[in-house]
């Protein structure tokens, strides 16, 4: 039983789903395995704020009964998943990582939770994060920092760090997070997993806390593109309750995954690797060689207007975040994390005319990127300019230069969420310390399938996404962590 439990945590979502559908494994066994892994590692990771052990086991029993009765709902039925504690869940503590909502229990589900429940997936718990999504480290939480599974002294990245850490160690093959600046892609990169942020409006944000209205997205974490695509299919779709929601046909990203990228054009802006660590650059060049070997055409680009992207993104999110949190700033300022309070309060001092100036800059950048996409199908870069920094380096340890015009990589990191473009991070190497490096792929609006296809092709030709944190070596059964195919 112990070996079986550990093995189930190593299964991909696709494999686990087949086993559950074929009744070779029960949902209850899958949930028990995930909970056992959580119990084993959570004390080191602090990836969860609320664990729903009893609820998950009860839901698993219902799933098993439904499947036995022939009422199979689809590939997520009975599969353990987690969600960032930004999403309302009826009757369940939903905190946003904040002291302000320590004991708040919503009366209704968010759209994301509604769709997860409809799919039959089992929610294991609510994952830890930077307070209300305002951070890039997952250390700015009332509930303590999330620790990176690859090195517990390092950050998991934020703000969706708990979700990324959970998936990285097999506490469920899937998790859902949010992104306003880089909060899906950065933690995916730092934790060595796949993270996907779809086009703005593809997944409903109804019932989740707002970071910045015009830049908030829901995203997916998994260990492979195939698994993420299944997770995306289950929750994408129009929702009239989210004014940004996109009218679209049924989401079928998983079935349409294709590894054929021959002839597609990749734009590379090497000028924006200023300040990037040598190991990050080396892994990136290796990834480009792989993509070229798969038939993609590499085109060198420069888009000078992108030197203003990071500051435009930061000013937008600072102003909108302040507006979103005005009531709490007035009534509960002292209950915010200090760094979050300072950033949000400073946003109150951005005037309306200044905000409009920032949006005009955003429009100019949008037009420059639209023109770039006339020459290429995808923009490719490292996800971050460094691997995961130490927790002791503090909230600025990421080293993003967001308030300076220049060719810092932060401009490419913050670009996709600012413009609502589909983007992902997939593992593409490790640094000399064994810390993961991420490859970022960005597509045009509504070219989500293209982004997924590129990542799928890359993963089909490499094994970086199959590597597991050394933390698991004492817990695993099977191939040693870090071994190549």
């Amino acid at each position: 039983m112990h070996s079986m439990a550990l093995d189930l945590c190593e299964k991909s979502l696709a494999e686990l789903s087949r086993l559950i559908a074929g009744r070779k494994v029960s949902s209850s066994e899958a949930i028990e395995a995930a909970l056992a892994r959580l119990e084993q590692l959570e004390g080191k990771l602090n990836a969860f704020i609320t664990v729903l052990a009893e609820e998950a086991l009860e839901a698993a029993r219902r799933a098993d009964d439904e499947i036995a009765a022939g009422r199979y709902r689809g590939p997520l039925h009975g599969v353990p998943v987690s969600i960032k504690d930004m999403f309302e869940m009826a009757g369940v503590r939903t905190t946003g990582g904040s002291k302000i909502l320590t004991n708040w229990r919503p009366e209704t589900d968010s759209a994301l939770v509604e769709r997860i429940r409809a799919s039959g997936a089992i929610i294991l718990g609510k994952t830890n994060l930077d307070e209300f999504g305002h951070g890039g480290t997952s250390t700015l939480s009332h509930f303590g920092p999330v620790h990176n599974p690859w090195d517990l002294e390092r950050i998991a990245g934020g703000s969706s760090g708990g979700s990324a850490a959970a998936v990285a160690v097999g506490i469920g093959p899937l998790s859902y997070g949010t992104e306003t600046g880089s909060s899906v892609r950065r933690p995916a990169s730092y934790c060595g997993i796949f993270g996907f942020k779809p086009t703005f409006g593809i997944i409903s944000r109804h019932g989740s806390f707002r970071g910045a209205w015009s830049m908030d997205h829901v995203g997916v974490f998994a260990r492979s593109v195939e698994d993420a695509a299944v997770g995306l299919d289950a929750v994408a779709g129009f929702d009239p309750r989210d004014p940004a929601s996109v009218r679209q046909g049924p989401a079928e990203y998983a079935v349409h995954l294709s590894g054929d990228i021959a002839g597609l054009r990749i734009g590379v802006m090497r000028g924006f690797l200023e300040g990037a660590e040598a190991a990050v650059c080396a892994a990136f060049e290796g990834a480009l060689e792989t993509l070229a070997g798969l038939g993609a055409e590499i085109r060198e680009l420069d888009v000078p207007d992108l030197t203003y992207a990071a500051m435009t993104s930061m000013m937008t999110s600072t102003a909108e975040g302040a507006a979103n949190n005005l009531q709490w700033l007035r009534e509960r300022a002292g209950d915010f994390q200090p760094q979050v309070r300072r950033r949000l309060a400073s946003g109150l001092a951005i005037t309306a005319s200044e905000y409009l100036t920032v949006q005009r800059a955003r429009h100019r950048i949008r037009e420059a990127v639209r023109e770039a996409f006339e020459q290429v199908d995808l923009l490719v870069s490292p996800t971050t300019n460094r691997t995961a920094p130490l927790i002791s380096a503090g909230p600025r340890g990421n080293g993003d230069e967001t308030f300076r015009v220049g060719h810092s990589q932060a401009n490419l990191l913050r670009l996709p969420s600012m413009l609502g473009l589909p983007a992902c991070s997939t593992p593409c190497g490790v640094d000399p310390r064994g810390l993961p490096v991420g490859l970022q792929l960005v597509g045009r609006s509504f070219a989500d399938q293209t982004v997924l296809d590129f990542a799928y092709a890359y993963q089909s030709a490499t094994d970086w996404h199959t590597r597991r944190p050394p933390l698991l070596e004492g817990a695993r059964v099977g191939p040693r962590a870090g071994s190549s195919q």
Binding site: D305, M315, R342, R343, V358, R360, R364
Partner: protein, 68 residues
């Protein structure tokens, strides 16, 4: 960060009236204001000539229909 807040910072701090802040918060916030002033000057120059976006409804057909 040096000395007393400038007139710009004082103007910005006025927006925070009613927010319960620690002395250390104010110091950090004024440092943010330094960034804001510099960044906004850059963005004003960068966005010069870029029109403000407004939602414009478009007629359903290829051409607008004018009344007689």
């Amino acid at each position: 960060m040096s000395g007393m807040p400038s007139e710009s910072y004082s103007r910005r701090l006025a927006f925070l009236e009613g927010i319960d802040l620690e002395p250390s918060d104010r110091e950090a916030i004024v440092a943010e204001f330094e960034d804001f002033d510099r960044v906004l000057a850059e963005l004003e120059a960068f966005s010069e000539g870029v029109p403000w976006l407004a939602q414009q409804a478009q007629p359903p057909g290829p051409d607008a229909q004018h009344g007689s």
